[in-house]
C-alpha cells in the first residue's frame, strides 16, 4: 500500500517527463479537533473522525492518447482509500484500488469471557461480578484490494475483467446460550475473493455478451466454543463456501424499432460443514460432513417495441429455478428425530407495460405483471401476485410537471397442508400466516409535482400512500398504512446566493393479531386464561426530517456556507387483550425513538486561482431511546449482557481547517 502511495505522490512530479500535456487535480490537507460531550460508536460508524490530520488528493493527467489518474482519501486513517487508474483513449482502461471501511458498532462493551475476538470464549464459573468484566469494542474493519480492466477498442469485441480480495476483521455482537444466556462476540475473520469476466461482441443490430464470475469465501474460524466453568458448548460459524455463475445475453434489434433481449444464467453455490469439528456433538453419528449444493437456473426475455411515435410497449418474462442438491441430515435431539428441510422454488414472472403519448403534454403508462412462485414449503406452498398499475404524466404548464400513479396488487397464497390435519402446537398454522407470503390486497398511490417557475428556482413535492389489507389472515399482520410526503427546493438567488432545502414526513402504522398459548392451547376458540389468550398490537412510527444549506459570497474571495438538518422518529406500540387474560398490557411509548441534529458553518477563502483555505465548525448530536434499554443491567438472573448498543448517544463539536490547492 505504501508503494501505491509513493507512486501516487510521484505522479504530479513525473507528469511532464512522462509526456502528459495536461495535468489537473486537487490536494486537500486538513486538521481537525473534536470535543465530545458524549461519545458513541454511532458518530464514527463508517468513518474515522480522529483528531489530527486528514486529507485527500486527486490528480488526472492526459494527452491526446493516454490518461493516468490517481486518488487518495484519508491516508493512514481507518477509512483510507487509494486508486490508480489509466488507459488509452478508445482502447483500454484499468484501475487498481485499495479501500478500507471501518464499521464501528459499539464501544466500551463488557465481557465476563476471556478470548474476545478468538474462536474460544472462556467464562469462569461462577460468573464474576460485572466490575471484573473486561472492556472491549465491537467493530469490523473491511479492507478491499481490487483491480479491473476494460479493453474496448473500436472493433466489435470488448472485454472486461475484475478481481478483488475483501478481508473483514473484528467482532460483532452475538448471543450464546449455555448454562445462561450470554451476549458475547462473534469473531469475524473473513476473506472473500471475487473474479468476474465479461466478453462481448456488438454490431449495429446485435450484441452478444458472455459473463462468468467466481466468489470464494473463507472463514478462519470453523466453530465458536464457549466454556462456562466445565460446561462446553459449540456454535456453528458461517462456513467456507464458493459460488460461480456462467451466463450470457443476446440483444437483437428488430423492425419497428424493437429490441429483443434474451438472458440465461446458471449458478452454483457449494459449502461443506465438517461435523467432525463439533467435539461435543453426539448427532449426527453416521456422516461427518454436510455437503451443501444449491443451483440456480435463470432466464429472461424482454421485447420492447416502438409501435408509433405515440406508443411503445415492453413485454417481459423472467424465470428462476432453485434446485437444492444439499445433503439431508438427520439428527436426534430432545427425543425426536429431525431432518433438515431443503428449500426449493421456481418463480415465473411475466408482464406487459405500455407508454402512450396522448399528445405533446400528456403521457399515459399502464401495465400488468404476474408473478407465480411454487415452493417446497408447506406454510407457503404457492404465491400468485397480480399487479396492475397506471400512470399519467402532464407537462401542460411549461414550468410544472405533474405525475400521478396508481398501483394495485392482489396476492393469493396457498399452504401445502389441510387445516384439519394440524394438531398440537402446530394447530396455530391454521390461523396464523407469515406476512411476506400472506394473501393480501395492496393499494398504492403517488402524486408528484416538479416546479421550475424560474430558471434559477426548482421545487418538488410528492405524496405517496400505501395500504396493505391482509383480510384472509386471522392472526398475523392485518393492515399496513404508509404515508410519505417529501419536498425540496433549490434556488439561486441574487448576489450568487444559493439555497437548498428538503423536508420529509413518513407515517407508518401496522395492525397485528396473535395468540399467546401454552402447549395444547393453540385453538383460538378455547376459553381465555392468563396463559392462553388472543392479543393485538398496533405499532406506529412518525418520522420527520428537514434540512438545508445556504451559500453566501460575502466578499469577492470569501464564501460562507451554513448547513443544518434534523430528523426525529417517534415510535409507539399499543397492546390489547381480553380482561379475562389479566391486567391490560402496557403501551411501549419508546420504540426506536430517535433524533439527530447536525449543524455547521464554514468559511472558504480563495487566496488565488490555486489556493484556498476553509475554516469550519460542525455540531452533531444523536439520541436513541428504546424501552428495552430502560433500567439496563449487565446481569439479571442467568442473563449476561455486554452493553452492545448502549453507547447509542453522542454529542460532538468539531472544528477544522482545510488548505486546498488546485492545479
Amino acid at each position: 500500500m505504501r508503494r501505491l502511495l509513493l507512486i501516487l505522490l510521484a505522479l504530479p512530479i513525473a507528469a511532464p517527463s512522462m509526456g502528459f500535456a495536461e495535468v489537473g487535480g486537487e490536494v486537500n490537507v486538513g486538521l481537525r479537533a473534536n470535543d465530545f460531550d458524549e461519545e458513541s460508536a454511532r458518530f464514527d460508524e463508517y468513518r474515522d473522525m480522529s483528531d489530527g490530520l486528514f486529507g485527500s488528493a486527486d490528480v488526472l493527467m492526459n494527452d491526446e492518447t493516454y490518461f493516468l489518474g490517481a486518488s487518495v482519501e484519508n491516508p493512514f486513517l481507518d477509512d483510507q482509500y487509494y486508486d490508480l487508474r489509466g488507459g488509452v483513449f478508445g482502447a483500454f482502461k484499468g484501475e487498481v484500488f485499495y479501500d478500507e471501511l471501518t464499521h464501528n458498532l459499539s464501544y466500551d462493551a463488557l465481557s465476563p469471557a476471556t478470548g474476545i475476538g478468538s474462536d474460544t470464549l472462556v467464562v469462569p464459573s461462577p460468573v464474576p461480578a460485572v466490575s471484573a468484566w473486561t472492556p472491549f469494542d465491537y467493530d469490523v474493519e473491511v479492507k478491499t484490494l481490487g483491480a479491473d480492466i476494460t479493453v474496448d477498442t473500436q472493433n466489435p469485441f470488448y472485454f472486461k475483467v475484475s478481481a478483488d480480495q475483501q478481508r473483514k476483521e473484528g467482532v460483532m455482537p452475538y448471543g450464546l446460550f449455555d448454562s445462561g444466556t450470554f451476549m458475547l462476540a462473534l469473531p469475524v475473520d473473513y476473506t472473500t475473493y471475487t473474479t468476474m469476466v465479461e466478453a462481448g461482441y456488438r454490431s449495429k443490430e446485435t450484441t452478444a455478451v458472455f459473463n462468468a464470475g467466481y466468489s470464494d469465501f473463507d472463514n478462519d474460524n470453523d466453530l465458536l466454543t464457549l466454556r462456562v466453568g466445565s460446561v462446553v458448548e459449540e456454535y456453528s460459524m458461517p462456513a467456507d463456501n464458493y459460488a460461480y455463475n456462467l451466463g450470457g445475453r443476446l440483444t437483437q434489434r428488430l423492425p419497428m424499432e424493437s429490441l429483443l433481449a434474451l438472458k440465461a444464467a446458471f449458478s452454483q453455490n457449494v459449502s461443506e460443514a465438517d461435523f467432525g469439528k463439533f467435539l461435543t456433538s453426539t448427532s449426527p453419528t453416521a456422516d461427518e460432513d454436510f455437503d451443501g449444493d444449491i443451483r440456480y437456473i435463470r432466464g429472461s426475455a424482454v421485447l420492447t417495441s416502438q409501435w408509433s411515435k405515440m406508443l411503445d410497449t415492453r413485454l417481459f418474462y423472467n424465470y428462476i429455478d432453485r434446485d437444492n442438491q444439499s445433503e439431508n441430515i438427520t439428527v436426534v435431539t430432545e427425543g425426536e428425530v429431525r431432518r433438515n428441510h431443503l428449500l426449493e422454488y421456481d418463480k415465473h414472472q411475466a408482464g406487459l407495460d405500455a407508454n402512450y403519448r396522448l399528445n405533446k403534454v400528456n403521457k399515459l403508462t399502464g401495465g400488468y405483471e404476474f408473478t407465480g412462485t411454487d415452493r417446497t414449503r408447506d406454510d407457503a406452498d404457492t404465491t400468485y401476485d397480480n399487479l396492475l398499475f397506471g400512470e399519467v404524466k402532464n407537462t401542460a404548464i411549461d414550468w410544472m410537471m405533474a405525475k400521478f400513479r396508481l398501483e394495485y396488487l392482489n396476492r393469493s397464497s396457498d399452504t401445502d397442508y389441510e387445516p384439519e390435519d394440524l394438531e398440537g402446537d402446530g394447530l396455530i398454522r391454521a390461523f396464523f400466516t407469515p406476512f411476506d407470503y400472506a394473501s393480501k390486497d395492496r393499494y398504492k398511490g403517488k402524486l408528484s409535482f416538479d416546479f421550475t417557475p424560474m430558471e434559477k428556482l426548482a421545487m418538488a413535492v410528492s405524496y405517496a400512500l400505501e395500504y396493505d389489507d391482509y383480510d384472509a389472515s386471522m392472526f398475523g399482520l392485518q393492515e399496513d398504512f404508509r404515508h410519505e410526503i417529501y419536498t425540496d427546493v433549490n434556488a439561486r438567488l441574487p448576489a450568487k446566493i444559493q439555497l437548498n432545502g428538503f423536508a420529509g414526513y413518513e407515517y407508518t402504522e401496522s395492525d397485528f393479531e396473535s395468540r399467546r398459548y401454552n402447549p395444547g392451547g393453540a385453538d383460538p376458540t378455547l376459553p381465555t386464561t392468563s396463559t392462553n389468550f388472543n392479543w393485538s398490537e398496533e405499532f406506529d412510527y412518525d418520522f420527520f426530517v428537514f434540512g438545508g444549506n445556504l451559500k453566501v459570497p460575502v466578499l469577492a474571495r470569501l464564501e460562507l456556507v451554513a448547513s443544518a438538518d434534523y430528523q426525529i422518529i417517534d415510535g409507539n406500540i399499543d397492546f390489547a387483550r381480553s380482561a379475562a387474560a389479566g391486567a391490560p398490557l402496557g403501551t411501549v411509548t419508546e420504540a426506536d425513538d430517535y433524533y439527530k441534529t447536525r449543524a455547521g458553518m464554514k468559511g472558504i477563502y480563495k487566496l488565488d486561482d490555486h489556493w484556498s483555505a476553509t475554516l469550519g465548525y460542525g455540531y452533531e448530536k444523536s439520541n436513541l431511546d428504546d424501552w428495552r434499554y430502560d433500567n439496563f443491567t449487565y446481569r439479571s438472573g442467568t442473563v449476561y449482557l455486554s452493553g452492545a448498543g448502549l453507547d447509542r448517544d453522542y454529542e460532538v463539536h468539531q472544528v477544522y481547517l482545510i488548505t486546498s490547492y488546485r492545479f
Binding site: 454436510f290 435463470r298 429472461s300 441430515i329 401496522s510 439527530k596
Partner: protein, 297 residues
C-alpha cells in the same frame, strides 16, 4: 488454492490478446450533412463551453468522438443557420435544454455510445422509460471525470432514497463507501431495480458472502429474499431491519410460549432483549445439534 487463481487469470489474459486486435474506424459523414461551420466559429461566442469541451475526454482525437468528427457540431448539429440568424438559445441549433424531447437528447449521445458496453440495455431500463436522458445525469461541459457525482445526482430524483440513506441505520452511501452504481446499472439491466446481479439476493452476497450458505438449517425467507427483513438503503430500525424486533419476528412466528407472547411495557427486563439474543444464527445454521433448527447454535 493458488493454482485455481492462476487458471482464473490465464483465461482472461488470453482473451485480452484477442481483443487488442487493431481497431477499424467506421465513421463517415453522410453526404447530406451540410452547414458545418467548425469549432473555431462556435468558440467565438461560446468560449466557456468550448474550453470545458477541450478539457474533456470528448476532445480526444484517439476516440471516435466529436474531435474525430465535427467537434461541437457532432452533438449540436450543423451551426451555419444558427450563425446566420445571429445565434440565440435554440435558434436553428440542437440544444440539450430541458424542453427538448429527452429521447432526442439521448439519441445524440447514442449515435456514438450505443456500442458502449452495457448500453445495449438502455431501451429496457427504467430510466429511459421515465424520460431520463443522458444529460440528466452527465454534464459534458466539464473537464476531468464525466461520471455523475454520486449520490447527489441520483438523489435529485430519488428523494425517498435520499431520506432513507440519512436514517439511523444505513449502508455507507453518504460516507462515500458505497456508490449507487456499486449496486445499480443506471444504463439498464434485465434485473429488477436494475441491480448489477442476477437478482437482489445475489447482489447482497457480493459483500456479505458469509450469509450465502448453503446451510444445513435454512431460514426460508433468507433463502428467497433478503428484503423480507432488511431495507437496502436505510432504516429507522437497527441493522437496516424493516421493523423493530420482536415485532418483525412475530410477524411470521407464533408458537407456544415465547414466540406468541406480547412483549409489552410490563415484560421483565430479561424478556426485552430481542429474539436474536438466543437465535443469533438467524441467517442459517450448520450445527449438527437440534439447536441449529431454531438458529440458536
Amino acid at each position: 488454492m493458488k493454482n485455481k487463481y492462476i487458471v482464473l487469470f490465464i483465461f482472461p489474459l488470453s482473451l485480452l490478446v484477442l481483443f487488442l486486435l487493431p481497431a477499424k474506424s467506421e465513421y463517415t459523414r453522410g453526404a447530406d450533412e451540410k452547414g458545418f461551420i467548425g469549432a473555431e466559429t462556435c468558440k467565438e461566442c461560446h468560449e466557456t463551453q468550448y474550453e470545458s469541451y477541450a478539457k474533456s475526454v470528448h476532445s480526444r482525437k484517439a476516440i471516435k468522438g466529436p474531435a474525430a468528427q465535427d467537434a461541437c457540431e457532432t452533438c449540436h448539429g450543423p451551426g451555419a443557420a444558427h450563425v446566420e440568424k445571429g445565434g440565440g438559445r435554440g435558434v436553428d441549433i440542437f440544444t440539450f435544454d430541458k424542453g427538448v424531447d429527452p429521447e432526442a437528447r439521448s439519441a445524440r449521445c447514442l449515435t456514438c455510445h450505443e456500442r458502449t458496453p452495457g448500453m445495449d440495455l438502455w431501451d429496457l431500463g427504467v430510466h429511459k422509460r421515465n424520460d431520463v436522458s443522458c444529460d440528466s445525469c452527465h454534464d459534458l461541459h466539464v473537464g476531468g471525470r464525466q461520471k455523475p457525482r454520486e449520490p447527489e445526482v441520483c438523489f435529485d430524483c430519488h428523494k425517498d432514497i435520499k431520506i432513507d440513506a440519512n436514517k439511523r441505520s444505513h449502508h455507507p452511501i453518504l460516507e462515500g463507501k458505497i456508490r449507487c452504481s456499486s449496486c445499480h446499472a443506471p444504463h439498464g439491466s434485465l434485473s429488477k431495480y436494475m441491480v448489477k446481479a442476477d437478482d437482489s439476493r445475489e447482489l447482497c452476497f457480493k459483500c456479505h458472502a458469509d450469509k450465502r450458505g448453503p446451510y444445513v438449517w435454512e431460514h426460508a425467507p433468507v433463502e428467497e429474499d433478503c428484503q423480507s427483513c432488511h431495507e437496502v438503503h436505510g432504516s429507522s430500525h437497527g441493522r437496516l431491519l424493516t421493523e423493530r424486533i420482536p415485532q418483525l419476528c412475530q410477524n411470521c412466528h407464533d408458537w407456544s410460549r415465547h414466540p406468541g407472547t406480547p412483549y409489552d411495557s410490563t415484560a421483565s427486563f430479561t424478556s426485552r432483549f430481542e429474539c436474536l439474543r438466543c437465535h443469533s444464527a438467524i441467517h442459517g445454521s450448520n450445527s449438527p445439534q437440534g439447536g441449529g433448527l431454531r438458529f440458536v447454535r
